[in-house]
Subunit: 347 residues, 2 copies
Amino acid sequence: APIAMPAIAQSAPAIKWRCTSSFPKSLDALYGSNEYFAKCVSEATDGKFVIETFSAGEIVPALQALDAVQSGTVEMCQTACYYYVGKDPTFALLTTSPFALNTRMMSAWMRFGGGQELATEFLKKFGVIPITAGNTTAQMGGWFRKEIKEVSDLNGLKFRIAGLAGRVMQKLGVVPQQIGGGDIYAALEKGTIDAAEWVGPYDDEKLGFQKVAPFYYYPGWWEGGAMLHNLINIQKFNELPKQYQAVLRDASAEANDWMIAKYDSLNPGALRRLIANGAQLRPFSQPIMEACYKASNEVYAETSAANPDFKKVWDSITAFRGDQYLWWQVAEYGFDTFMIRQRARGN
Amino acid sequence: APIAMPAIAQSAPAIKWRCTSSFPKSLDALYGSNEYFAKCVSEATDGKFVIETFSAGEIVPALQALDAVQSGTVEMCQTACYYYVGKDPTFALLTTSPFALNTRMMSAWMRFGGGQELATEFLKKFGVIPITAGNTTAQMGGWFRKEIKEVSDLNGLKFRIAGLAGRVMQKLGVVPQQIGGGDIYAALEKGTIDAAEWVGPYDDEKLGFQKVAPFYYYPGWWEGGAMLHNLINIQKFNELPKQYQAVLRDASAEANDWMIAKYDSLNPGALRRLIANGAQLRPFSQPIMEACYKASNEVYAETSAANPDFKKVWDSITAFRGDQYLWWQVAEYGFDTFMIRQRARGN
């Protein structure tokens, strides 16, 4: 017995980690999924592997989550890779990017289209390994003080939008603005900015944008399905028993499904209430969408020419995307199209 | 130490279960996800909780998986609840049914729309508890020897189709046929039947239907997203340490994501090859879809009037569905619509 004891203790040791999130507690689908993930990990290890979760700002600011993991300040973070485009534009492709993949396609690309391998290889440079941990689903195109009818209406527009999408819009004359979530409302109210994008109905509703910028555009072509990740310090991950590594993988999948289902279940009611409270739904016109698509392809070509990592990942995504939509337009889209029509007719 | 040892042993005991699947090994996305699930459970418990998987027929036939779990022959099964409509039509609603929910909506309904609670309550009568463990994604409408252009072309059609969809089609003159997967090809070749539905491109391709019934219709309006379940004997589940219960939940989610991504990644290539080998894609016409929708609502009304469990579950699904498509048609569908158009234009 004295010999067996340490072996048992080693196979399921008590471990305590800290996870910093890039999201505030108020985004309860995003941050809530991280708390749920930690609960799943604890339950699946009989309370032996405890991950303490911290919202943005409690340990480090939202956009320093990756750095905190890389430096070992915390063992892991819950974040969106595209927050780190300043380090390398390749990060954007691991979350979502203009006219890329929808939610299910992103998951399929990660698991069976080479995405996980490419992401793992790229993120090794930053000392972390990625595990898919959620998706916001397709986002909205944001809130505008005035209607945007022609491509020329984008010219000079001060739009709170970041990352690759901001660069795309610059090509059409937009002046991208960087403003924290808490300051958007006041900036729209004062007219310091003309428009702002956030997430989708459920998260947008909390900020009340419809009161100051009532035109609510769709689709958010720059975020067809934004994948969230748990990024884990490689060394810390490798030190874990294989059992705990498996628990992290499975609990991340449970949190992934939880977040997607949460958004899907909460967005419809929020959209209803937004419309009742003055939001005016508007689709981006076909010419605007096409101009943005063209500008996106220019940004992709320019970035690919300058950055071999970016090119490798983007080439993989576009090859996968073409095949995906070949099939998606048949059964999935055929089913949804009919159901949408029947609903519109009140059937 | 002699006192502490049993406590440690109890918290992570060695347990061996058997899981019978309703699917043959040849359906490697369906059956493969069950093997992957068992692997995840083993990995997350350091090899202490072992689930041995058996394909359809190895222990019991495909459609007796539930009975084998209920009777305690095996601890759990991987199956589609709609195989048990003979026991109670309510089973159909827990997998998919005509014009119900797409893949993501089904997941959202289960997690946050009351589905899991309703399924758990209903399945208690059969001694099992359900955990979501996969989805085939939207299926195809099947293979037809002749084109079906008018609603009247359905009259007298001998169609291999089962469950609620078979009852719906009977209202339009179809003669539903029950034939095992291995016998469909010969029946189509001889003309014993006129049409047959199976799953989608990846699974259909293996059976070579395009050679004998080349018209490949879509969408499979009776399976907008067929959810698979792990059904677990309630008593056996309750006897598990809470840790292992959590592991089953999380590994099922990992297998769920694996299966959906597997189908999404494999269907496009299969569709390409089927078309290259003679399959002729055809959409069901709008009048045919509408006639089927009307007939479905009649079947739903009749079944609801006769079966309070069915009514309760179906009312929950329809209420959820209305709200879902209100939102789906905006950002998700808007994004997909544009991407499909761009692809068609070769952009």
